[in-house]
Symmetry: C2
Subunit: 416 residues, 2 copies
C-alpha cells in the first residue's frame, strides 16, 4: 500500500486513500468500519475527509446558494491535457515531478484549468464529480472579501468606519475600535489563537460555537457564531500587522449582512451565482441561528469556483456586465506593504480583502483553503486554476512545496 510521510507521520498516499477504493459509506447501511459520522469530528479526519469534503451537507445544516433559473454559462474547451500532464517542474528541494503525478501527491479531488476562459484541463478523482459541490474551506473568505470590497466601492460600506458603528453589539469586544478595512485585511489585535490542532484554541472554540465542530456531551460554550464573537477581547493594536483569523472574516460578513439586510447566501446568489451562470447551486454551513459560516462553510462545484476565478481574471467583467467593480480587483492586486505581512505562507506575499496576493511573475492572486483548496488567478498567464483536495495535513504547508512550482510551471507553459 502506498504511503507518504508528513511531519513524521505516515499516511495513505493519494492513490491508496481514494475513497472509492476504501469503500467509505458504501452499503445500506455502510458497515461500522466504513461509516463516517460527525461524532468527534470523525468526518473531518484523514482519510475520511477524502469522502466527506464532497459531502458536507450530509453531516451539517446548510443553506442553498441558488443559481437561479437561467441556463449555465458555457465554458468552452480547448483540451491540452497531454501537454499539461507532461509538464515537469522542480521543487525547492530540487526534486522534479510531473504535473499528472503531482495531482496524486497533493491529494487532489479535482482540478480545472482555464486559459483565456476556455477549459484546457479538467480532472476528477475519488468522491468528487463535476456536479457535486466540494468544501471550499477558507476559499469562502475570498468570495466574502470580494463582495465586501465591492460594497465599499459602491458606498454601501465605509471601510474607514469602526465595526461598532455597524454592529453596536460588538461594543466592548476586540472589534469595537477596529475599522472595517482592518478587519477585511485581518490587521486586528485579538486575544484569540488560530491553531487548528489545539482543542483549546480560539478557532476550535469558534468551530464548536458554529456547530461545525463536534460539541462534546455537556458542552456549555456559546451556542452561535455571534455569541462567540462577543467573547473576544482586544490584545495589542489594530492596523499594525496581518495575522490570519477566521473570526475577522465572520465580523466582516456580519457587517455586510447588517448593512445590506441580506444574508451571505442571498448576496452570493444575487451578485455571483446567478449572473455568472453557475451550473449548480452551492451551499453554506449555517449555525443554529441561521448565520452562515463565512470563514469556510461554502461548498461549490469545481467549475463554478473556476467561473469566480475567471471573473477576477477579467477584472470583474462577465459577458459585458461589470459584476464586481474593476477597481476592487486592482486594489487586491496591489496587496499590502510586505512589512505588514510578516507571517505569510510564501515569502513576499500579502493579504488584501481576504485574498492572498503573491506579487509573483504571473501577477497571481490566490484563494486558499484548508486541506489544499486553491483558486489561482494568474492574469499574466491568462490562467485560472481551481483545485479541490483532501490532504492529510490541515494547512497548505503540506502541499505548497509542490503546488507553488506546479502553478508557476503551468502558467509559464500557457503564457509561452
Amino acid at each position: 500500500m502506498g504511503m507518504l510521510e508528513f511531519d513524521g507521520q505516515r499516511y495513505l498516499d493519494g492513490r491508496a486513500s481514494d475513497p472509492r477504493k476504501l469503500g467509505w459509506m458504501c452499503g445500506a447501511p455502510p458497515p461500522a468500519d466504513k461509516r463516517i459520522n460527525r461524532e468527534g469530528d470523525n468526518f473531518l479526519e484523514f482519510p475520511q475527509r477524502r469522502w466527506s469534503l464532497s459531502h458536507m451537507r450530509e453531516f451539517l445544516a446548510t443553506v442553498n446558494v441558488s443559481r437561479g433559473e437561467a441556463r449555465p454559462s458555457p465554458l468552452d474547451r480547448s483540451e491540452k491535457a497531454a501537454d499539461i500532464d507532461a509538464i515537469t517542474f522542480v521543487q525547492p528541494n530540487e526534486r522534479s515531478r510531473r504535473f499528472d503525478e503531482a495531482l496524486f501527491d497533493t491529494y487532489t479531488d479535482g482540478i480545472v484549468v482555464l486559459h483565456r476562459g476556455r477549459i484546457v484541463y479538467e480532472r476528477y478523482f475519488g468522491a468528487l464529480q463535476p456536479h457535486l459541490p466540494h468544501s471550499c474551506q477558507s476559499v469562502t473568505k475570498s468570495y466574502a472579501g470580494t463582495l465586501a470590497a465591492a460594497f465599499v466601492h459602491e458606498g454601501v460600506l465605509d471601510e474607514g468606519k469602526v465595526i461598532s458603528y455597524y454592529l453596536p453589539e460588538l461594543r466592548g469586544t476586540a472589534w469595537e475600535d477596529a475599522t472595517l478595512r482592518q478587519v477585511m485585511d485581518m490587521q486586528t489585535g485579538l486575544a484569540y489563537t488560530g491553531d487548528y490542532t489545539d482543542e483549546h484554541s480560539g478557532v476550535r472554540a469558534f468551530g464548536r460555537a458554529v456547530g461545525y465542530r463536534w460539541r462534546p456531551p455537556g458542552y456549555v460554550g456559546p451556542q452561535t457564531l455571534c455569541d462567540y464573537l462577543r467573547t473576544i477581547r482586544k490584545e495589542g493594536a489594530h492596523g499594525e500587522r496581518f495575522s490570519y483569523k477566521c473570526v475577522d472574516t465572520e465580523v466582516m460578513a456580519w457587517v455586510m449582512a447588517r448593512a445590506t439586510g441580506r444574508s451571505f447566501a442571498q448576496l452570493l446568489h444575487e451578485r455571483l451565482w446567478a449572473p455568472l451562470g453557475c451550473e449548480e447551486n452551492a451551499y453554506i454551513v449555517v449555525d443554529s441561528g441561521g448565520m452562515p459560516m463565512v470563514c469556510g462553510g461554502l461548498s461549490s462545484t469545481l467549475r463554478d469556483l473556476a467561473r469566480f476565478g475567471e471573473l477576477m481574471r477579467r477584472e470583474g467583467e462577465w459577458n459585458g456586465k461589470q459584476l464586481i467593480p474593476a477597481s476592487v480587483v486592482y486594489e487586491v492586486q496591489k496587496g499590502v506593504e510586505s512589512e505588514k505581512c510578516p507571517n505569510v505562507p510564501q515569502p513576499g506575499c500579502s493579504y488584501r480583502s481576504q485574498w492572498w496576493v503573491t506579487h509573483n511573475e504571473l501577477g497571481a492572486l490566490e484563494a486558499r483553503g484548508m486541506y489544499g483548496q486553491r483558486l489561482y488567478v494568474a492574469p499574466r498567464a491568462e490562467m485560472v486554476v481551481a483545485r479541490f483536495a483532501s490532504h492529510p495535513l490541515l494547512t497548505n504547508a503540506g502541499n505548497d512545496s509542490i503546488t507553488v512550482p506546479q502553478m508557476l510551471a503551468l502558467g509559464r507553459m500557457l503564457r509561452a
Copy 2:
C-alpha cells in the same frame, strides 16, 4: 389578530401566521424571539413550522436528489385562476367556502393544479417560493412505494419473499416473516405505536434514532434508523389488516437499497428526477449512517411534486417513455379490500403500495403528509393537485373536512 380553534386549542389563522408577517429568522442574527432552531424540536412547532417546512436542510443533515443537467421539462399554462378561486363547495358540516379562502383555512404554503398536464392554477404563500423545496413529509412514502412496485414489476424484487430473505439482519425482529408486499401495504403486526403526540411512542423514538427529532441531553437510544428497526418485535399477525406505520416504509426502502445497491436518493434521481425533467434538486434527510429517512424526509419544489403526480396520471408514461410500468399504477388504483383497511382517514379508502386510494368518483389517488401535504391525482378529471401546507395540527384530520370537498369540487369543475 385572526385565530382558529382546533381540538379546543386556539391558533393563529392562516393569514396571521404568515411567517413573513411574524418575521421568523429575519435579521443578522435574528433576535432571540424570532429565531427558530432544532433544540427541543422548536423548528417543528407551530407557527415556527410555517417557515421551517420550506427550510428543512437549514436544520438537518441532508443529501441531494440531483435533477441532472438536462433542461427542465416545460409545464405549459392555461390559467383558470379566477374561475378556480370562485369555486364554492360545501363541507360535511354544511358550511360553504370559497376555494381561495379555503387556502388560508388549510394553512396552504403553495398549491399547483394541473389539468391535462397544463398549469391552470398556482399560488405561493408565506415562506414558500417556486424554486424552494418544501418538506413532503409522508408524501415521500408514495415516491418510495411507486419505485418499490416498479422493481417488483421488473423482477428486481419479489413481493412474496419475506423481509429476512433480503435483510438477514432483521431475523428475530417483527419483519422476519413479513412479506415484502405486506410491508409495502403496511399490513404488518408490530409492537409499535404511531402516536406523534406521545413522547414515548414508537414513532417519536424512531424520529430520535434517525436524528430528525431532537435528542435530549444524555440520550442513549439507537443511533441510526437501522439500529432502531432491529429493536421492533412482532405483535399480532401479518397480512390481516392495514395499520399506518413509518417503520414499514423504512424497511421497504432498505430492501430496495440492498437489492439495487443504490441509495434512495440515487434511485429518485435516476428513475424520476432526471427523466421527469424536474426543475430543482430535491433533498432528503439522512441519519448518522447516511441512510435516508424515506418515511418523510424528502423536500421537493411544488412543481416537481406536481410532475410526479402527472406521471401517475399518465400511467407512468412521460414524453414517450414509460418511466414506471403502467401496471404499477393500475394495481395501486385497485387498492385493497376495504375490510382490510378499517382505520383510514376517509370512509371507503384503502392503502396500496404507500398510496391512499380514495375509490371516489374521480378515481383519485392521494399521497398524504403531516401538516397538510397532499398530492391528489384524479384521472377521471385529468387533474393533479400538489399542495404544501403547515397546519397547526399534525395529522390531516384538521384539514380533511375542507380539503376533501375542495378537491372534489375542483375536479368536478375541471371535468365539466
